[in-house]
């Protein structure tokens, strides 16, 4: 147990991290996705030699540059916040988390920053082919940056390839490849970067549609739409496939998150998937009356989670109260087992202080014992708090975020297909309704993207590391007041910078490709 928890410290630290992460994620997906499209456009330019394609490339590149700067600004906070606000966590995972972060710096950031400079400033200085290579390498570098941080995030969702060392009181890496190639990491990476591509494609289509409505830059707009619609359609199919893969992974490693995503309180065979639903109040939900309204697709959840429409999907109550039939431990039981593991650690410390070598050795062996790991240590994090409800995520937020993400995701797929269809028939310019609608899809893409991260991160509360380290035990010991001040500082700064970014972006779009360049 932790003595005297300062809840306002935990909450403000979480709020600050959420704030910076969400601001960061406002800018990153566009960077991830649009670099690929810019690289494709420039490739067409180099192949055809048509200067119009160069103009198209440079226009989108300019918007990319505006967006990129603020992504960098919010990114540096993320990295250092692990240390400043989550110092206990930093030590606990430093042995695993640090390596991907260092690799990210050495491999990806330098690649990105070197070649981005050539991309922006090299048009008149290096050969066409070298410039094109630089553009592709910028795209690769940006997406590689995402790989390593997502590997680290995936490890927090599903810690693999590590062993706890009581001597240093932390997890230590035992298999680098298990960490890197964990199925959770692969799925997460692909789902994240393809969702960035979808967002970027919607961005390009929305702005191009606005040009068409204004009857400006028609050639640029039509060509951009063609590239973006093809790219977006392929990416959105991929998002759906990796989303399905993610759901299967969640069913395996974070089943409680899955239950929250679907608002499933009572586990059942042949579980249906709620396509649209409105949740009842907390009291009613806990009493068994979960939905005020829902449209359910029978058996689909069982199929989605386990590939078998008959299989059992556990609900929130199964995890809270246990379900021996399905081999699910109750939360109080996990708390007991977590305490056994924490107690063993305490005994190790005492034995070490007393210089009892035989005892320390035997406890050290215990932590490496497969049965102890499986039955006790895996619940280590439950030993920190006695309150059963502490271990349950926020159901409405997780449920609604998940459904908003999925519904919008499928909507985007239809949108891309239609746009591609109109483009193929040469009707795009005449489809006024769709041209008017397209710019409004851009904010939808941002909402879907943010919702995805809310599902991923709020759905696994209270864990910073699944089942091993809850947020209360991960936080730095700082005055809550100090965190409130920095929260306010960052909230104001990021908001002001975001306003500036959007304002510059809108101006740049309005000015269009012709006026770019020059000192003004």
């Amino acid at each position: 147990m932790i003595q005297s928890i300062d809840w306002s410290l935990v909450d403000w630290s979480r709020a600050q991290f959420a704030l910076t992460a969400m601001y960061h994620w406002l800018f990153v997906p566009l960077t991830l996705g649009i670099t690929w499209m810019i690289a494709m456009m420039e490739t067409i330019y180099v192949k055809t030699g048509d200067p119009e394609w160069k103009k198209i490339t440079q226009f989108w590149m300019k918007l990319f540059g505006i967006n990129f700067a603020i992504g960098v600004a919010t990114g540096i906070i993320m990295e250092f916040e692990f240390g400043t606000n989550w110092s206990n966590y930093s030590w606990f995972v430093g042995d695993i988390f640090g390596a991907p972060l260092a690799i990210e710096g050495i491999m990806a950031f330098f690649m990105e920053s070197t070649f981005i400079a050539i991309m922006f400033f090299g048009w008149n200085k290096v050969s066409k082919k070298f410039h094109l290579a630089a553009t592709w390498l910028t795209a690769l570098g940006a997406n590689l940056s995402a790989l390593w941080i997502l590997v680290a995030n995936a490890w927090m969702q599903n810690p693999t390839g590590t062993t706890f060392n009581p001597e240093t009181a932390r997890n230590e890496m035992t298999n680098f490849w298990d960490v890197l190639f964990s199925p959770v990491a692969i799925n997460k990476f692909l789902h994240t970067i393809t969702s960035g591509m979808v967002l970027a494609a919607i961005f390009v289509i929305g702005i191009s549609a606005w040009f068409l409505l204004k009857k400006r830059e028609v050639r640029l707009a039509l060509r951009s739409i063609t590239v973006a619609a093809v790219f977006g359609l392929l990416a959105s199919v991929h998002v759906a496939l990796t989303g399905d893969g993610s759901a299967k992974q969640i069913a395996k490693v974070q089943p409680l998150k899955l239950a929250a995503m679907e608002g499933l309180y009572q586990g059942t065979d042949e579980a249906g998937l709620v396509a649209i639903g409105i949740l009842n109040s907390k009291e009613k939900r806990e009493a068994g009356d979960v939905f005020a309204f829902k449209i359910e697709m029978p058996k689909l959840l069982s199929w989605m989670a386990y590939g078998d429409p008959k299989s059992f999907v556990a609900g929130i109550n199964d995890y809270k109260n246990g379900n021996p039939e399905q081999g699910i431990l109750s939360t109080p039981e996990k708390i007991q087992r977590g305490k056994v593991a924490r107690d063993a650690l305490a005994q190790y410390k005492n034995a070490r202080a007393a210089g009892d070598v035989a005892r320390t050795d035997s406890i050290k062996t215990l932590f490496q014992d497969a049965a102890f790991k499986e039955s006790y240590f895996r619940y280590f994090g439950y030993g920190f708090m006695d309150d059963v409800n502490y271990y349950l995520p926020n159901v409405p937020l997780t449920f609604y975020s998940f459904h908003i993400m999925v519904i919008l995701g499928f909507g985007f797929m239809v949108f891309f297909a239609l746009i591609l269809f109109f483009t193929a028939r040469g009707e795009m310019q005449d489809r006024k309704f769709w041209l008017r609608l397209a710019p409004w899809i851009i904010p939808m893409a941002y909402i879907a993207s943010q919702s995805g991260w809310i599902v991923a991160e709020l759905g696994r509360q209270p864990w910073t590391i699944q089942d091993l380290l809850p947020t209360v035990a991960a936080v730095s010991k700082i005055d809550a007041g100090a965190v409130m001040v920095t929260f306010a500082l960052f909230a104001v700064t990021f908001t002001v910078l975001a306003i500036a970014e959007v304002s510059i972006m809108l101006k740049a779009i309005k000015n269009g490709p012709k006026n770019h360049g020059g000192t003004k």
Binding site: A69, V72, A99, L101, A102, F121, K349, T493, S503
Partner: protein, 376 residues
């Protein structure tokens, strides 16, 4: 190949890498120094724009090096990361803030609709240059003077300094190092402008600035260095890890590690030579000597902070909580895996070199800026 090395050798290898990154970072802070001189060296809008654009093509290297320095420190010595960042909260938050506003300043400065106006973004660059250098220097100063914190057996840090790290700036020794970094970055920034911009007014003013900043730098740096040689340092017993105070520890370290002494001397001579040819001969090439000289000098200082059984992040209030490269490091497995990654560093440096050589054949001119597509 790294598997056969002992944990201690890997810890030393990674201390050298972290030190090298830190040294390169100090050199690249010529960007920060240059940012504090924009209003001083540029008397009209065009000159300012030349200065900003000249720095604007390098700032990301400094930024990326800072991020990588942080990442490598986290990866190789996570207990330092956890203790210092979580403990000296305010220092790091202010440093971070200074870098957040820098990242947008270049891109947004001259763009239409930038909401805050050109002057604000220029002041962001100034603030970044001022706080970034002084506070990072001050924070590194505590590697030699210690901080007030304790670490329990679960490796959780409790910070005892009253101002969450800002108290470090009240120590004259730390402050002297902070100011040294600040003035050095201004020297390097001026030398960089002399090299990178083909505009006679800027050249002349930069040359004058090299002289002024060099004098200031030498005064504070020598003050810091000479005092350092006589300070009580934080030594530890390699057998049982016990930390104790040792008179003139850092002087002993220099004398006991002749290679470090050579690095320090060559580095200092390099910096002085670079300054000298700029001031007395009006050479453009000063930065090519002062830059590498800076790297060698800073490297030698990091090495005396962490090698020869010295605690690199000492606790002055609780000696036994002090961090050493042995007790703060990652596991042998992780250091081994990361060592393989470090083999890519020469490759990274090679492509950076190639890329920049093809971009920077000629110094920047006002004519070039007029033809450029992407201007800050």
């Amino acid at each position: 190949m790294f598997e056969s090395l002992s944990h201690l050798v890997l810890q030393q290898y990674w201390w050298i890498i972290v030190s090298l990154l830190g040294s390169v970072l100090v050199f690249l802070m010529f960007v920060q120094g240059g940012q504090t001189l924009i209003g001083h060296l540029g008397k009209n809008d065009l000159e300012k724009t030349l200065l900003v654009n000249s720095l604007g093509r390098k700032w990301e290297f400094t930024f990326t090096t800072l991020v990588t320095f942080g990442g490598a420190f986290f990866a190789s010595f996570p207990l330092f990361y956890a203790s210092s960042f979580g403990g000296a909260y305010w220092v790091w938050i202010i440093i971070l803030f200074a870098f957040v506003i820098q990242a947008v300043a270049y891109e947004f400065r001259s763009k239409a609709g930038n909401f805050l106006g050109k002057r604000t973004y220029e002041s962001f660059l100034f603030i970044n240059g001022l706080l970034g250098t002084i506070l990072i220097g001050t924070a590194v100063g505590t590697f030699f003077t210690g901080s007030q914190f304790s670490i329990n057996e679960l490796r959780q840090v409790t910070w005892e300094g009253p101002a969450r790290g800002l108290e470090a700036a009240l120590n004259i020794q730390n402050l002297a190092l902070g100011l040294s970094v600040f003035f050095l970055s201004r020297v390097l920034g001026s030398l960089y402008f002399m090299n990178n911009i083909d505009e006679s007014t800027i050249f002349t003013r930069s040359k004058r600035q090299v002289m002024i900043s060099s004098i200031a730098f030498l005064v504070v740096f020598l003050f810091w260095l000479i005092r350092l040689m006589f300070l009580e340092g934080f030594a530890y017993n390699p057998v049982n890890g016990e930390v104790f105070l040792e008179k003139s520890k850092y002087l002993h370290n220099i004398l006991e590690m002749p290679v470090v002494l050579v690095l320090l001397l060559v580095g200092v001579v390099g910096v002085l030579y670079g300054i000298g040819i700029a001031i007395f001969k009006g050479s453009r090439k000063g930065i090519w000597f002062a830059g590498p000289g800076t790297i060698l000098t800073v490297l030698s200082l990091f090495l005396i902070a962490g090698f020869n059984n010295t605690a690199f992040y000492p606790s002055s209030s609780n000696l036994q909580s002090s961090l050493t490269i042995v007790n703060a490091s990652s596991s042998k497995f992780t250091l081994t895996a990361m060592s393989y990654v470090s083999l890519m560093v020469p490759f990274v440096i090679a492509y950076m070199w190639y890329a920049w050589r093809s971009m920077n054949r000629k110094p920047m001119t006002r004519e070039e800026l007029n033809q450029e597509d992407h201007v800050y």
